[in-house]
C-alpha cells in the first residue's frame, strides 16, 4: 500500500470505530449489536486480495482492541485471519457477482465473531461463549449484509490507486454491484 492509502485506511478505521462505539452499540437487539469491525478486512480482501485483507484486519483489530475490555490483540488476530481467509476464498469468485459482498459480509462477520468467542474462551474468558448466539448470528449477519455496501465504498476510496484486482473490473460494470 502507498503512503496515501495507508493514511486513508487509517482514517476509515477511525471513522468506523467511532460509528461502532457511538451508534452501533446503541442498536442492541436480543443482547447483541451490529459489529462493523469485521467488515473492514472483509471489504479490503474483496477489493485487494488476502494480503491487504490481513493487513487491514490486523490494524483495524488493534484499533478496536484499544477500546474494548476483551484481551488485547485478540481482535487483531481474528481480523487478520478473517481478512486473509476472505481474500483467499473469494479469489476465484466473479467480482461482479451481486451475491459476493453480502454473502462474504454475513459469513465472514458471523465466522469472525464465533472465532473471537472461542479464542477468548481458550484464553480463560469462558463467559465469551456464554452469549445468546442465535441473536448474535442474526443481528451481526443481517446488519453486515446491510452495512457492507457503505463500508465497501469507504474502503474502495481508501484503497484507490492500489492497482487492486477489483479495480480491473470496469467501473460501469462494478457499479451494478451497488
Amino acid at each position: 500500500m502507498t503512503g496515501r492509502s495507508v493514511l486513508r485506511v487509517a482514517l476509515v478505521i477511525f471513522l468506523v470505530l467511532m460509528v461502532q462505539q457511538t451508534v452501533m452499540v446503541a442498536l442492541r437487539i436480543g443482547g447483541a449489536h451490529p459489529d462493523l469491525l469485521w467488515l473492514l478486512p472483509i471489504t479490503a480482501a474483496l477489493l485487494d486480495g488476502p494480503e491487504t485483507g490481513a493487513i487491514v484486519g490486523f490494524w483495524s483489530g488493534l484499533a478496536f482492541d484499544l477500546v474494548l475490555p476483551t484481551p488485547f490483540g485478540l481482535s487483531a488476530l481474528v481480523g487478520c485471519v478473517v481478512g486473509y481467509s476472505t481474500g483467499a476464498l473469494t479469489t476465484a469468485a466473479d467480482p461482479r457477482a451481486t451475491w459476493l459482498k453480502p454473502v462474504a459480509a454475513a459469513a465472514g462477520s458471523v465466522g469472525a465473531d464465533m472465532l473471537f468467542a472461542v479464542l477468548g474462551a481458550i484464553l480463560g474468558q469462558g463467559e465469551m461463549v456464554q452469549v445468546n448466539f442465535l441473536s448474535l448470528i442474526l443481528v451481526v449477519g443481517v446488519s453486515s449484509v446491510v452495512l457492507v455496501l457503505p463500508v465497501n465504498r469507504l474502503m474502495r476510496w481508501a484503497l484507490a490507486g492500489e492497482g487492486n484486482r477489483r479495480s480491473l473490473v470496469p467501473a460501469q460494470a462494478d457499479s451494478r454491484i451497488w
Binding site: V25, A32, G73, L77, Q130
Partner: protein
Amino acid sequence: MARSRRSRRTLTVIVLVVVSLSLISLDQNGRTHSLTSGIKSVANDVYAPLRQGVLDIISPIGNFFAGAFNYGSVQAQNERLQRTIGQLRAAQLEQGFEKDQLREITALQNLPFLQSLPTVTAETVDENSSNFTATITLDKGRADGVDVGYPVVGAGGLVGQVIQSFHHTSVVRLITDGQSKVGVMFGNNQSTGIVDGQGPSYSMTADLVAPRTPVHKGQTMFTSSLDAAAFPPGIPVATVRTFSTAPGASQETIRVDPAANLGELAYVDIVQWVPST
C-alpha cells in the same frame, strides 16, 4: 513472479499472526500486563474526548428522531429520577438487613459500612461495547480518584467492580458478567454463598449454598462481611428467583436476579474502598 508474491503474502500473514499472538501473550502475562494496560490507558485518554465529541454531535439528531421536541430535558430529568429511585431502593433494602445492627457489628469489627465510605458519582457513557462482555464505561477515572477494584453501586444495589481505570474514564465489570463472583450472606442464619455471573444473556446463580439452607423467593442477598471480601459488607447484590435441591446434591440450585436494575445505569456511585489484605 507469482510464487514470489505468494510467498511474500504468506510471510506477511505469518508475521501479523505472530505479532497478534505476542500481544495477547503480553496482555495475559501478569508481569507484562501493565505494558498493554498502559497502552490502552493512553489510547483511551485520547479516544474518550473524541468519542464524547461525536456523541455530542449525534445525540441531538438521535433525540430529534426519537420523538418529542424537549426529549433531551425529559431524558435528563428521567435519569435524575432513576438515580433517586435507585438510591431509595438501596436504602430500603438496607433497612431490611437490620441496618442498625449491622452498623454496630461492623463498627465492633472495624469493618466499613457503605454509607460511611467516600463515593464518586459517575455517569455511564457506554454500555456493553463488546458483544461478549457485560461492562459499562464511566466518565470518571484515575484523575477523579477511581482505581481498579473499587465497587460500583447504584439503581438499588451492587452494580459491579472497576476493572480498568484510565485518566478520565473507567470500565466496570457488571455482576452479570461471566467472570463476576461476589461473596454473599443472607437470612437470619447469615448463610453464605457466591453469586456467579453467567454472561449477559443468562440469569445469575448463587453457588456454594449448603443443601436445606433456609431460603425464600424474593430474599435479598447482601455482600458478605467475611475477612478479605472484595466488597464492603451490606450491599444488596441479588434477590432469589427460584431455588431447589436435587436429591444427593452437594448444594442448593438457586437462580437470582440482580438487586440493582442494570437497565437503569445512567448514574452510579463508585465506592472508594479497597479490600483489607
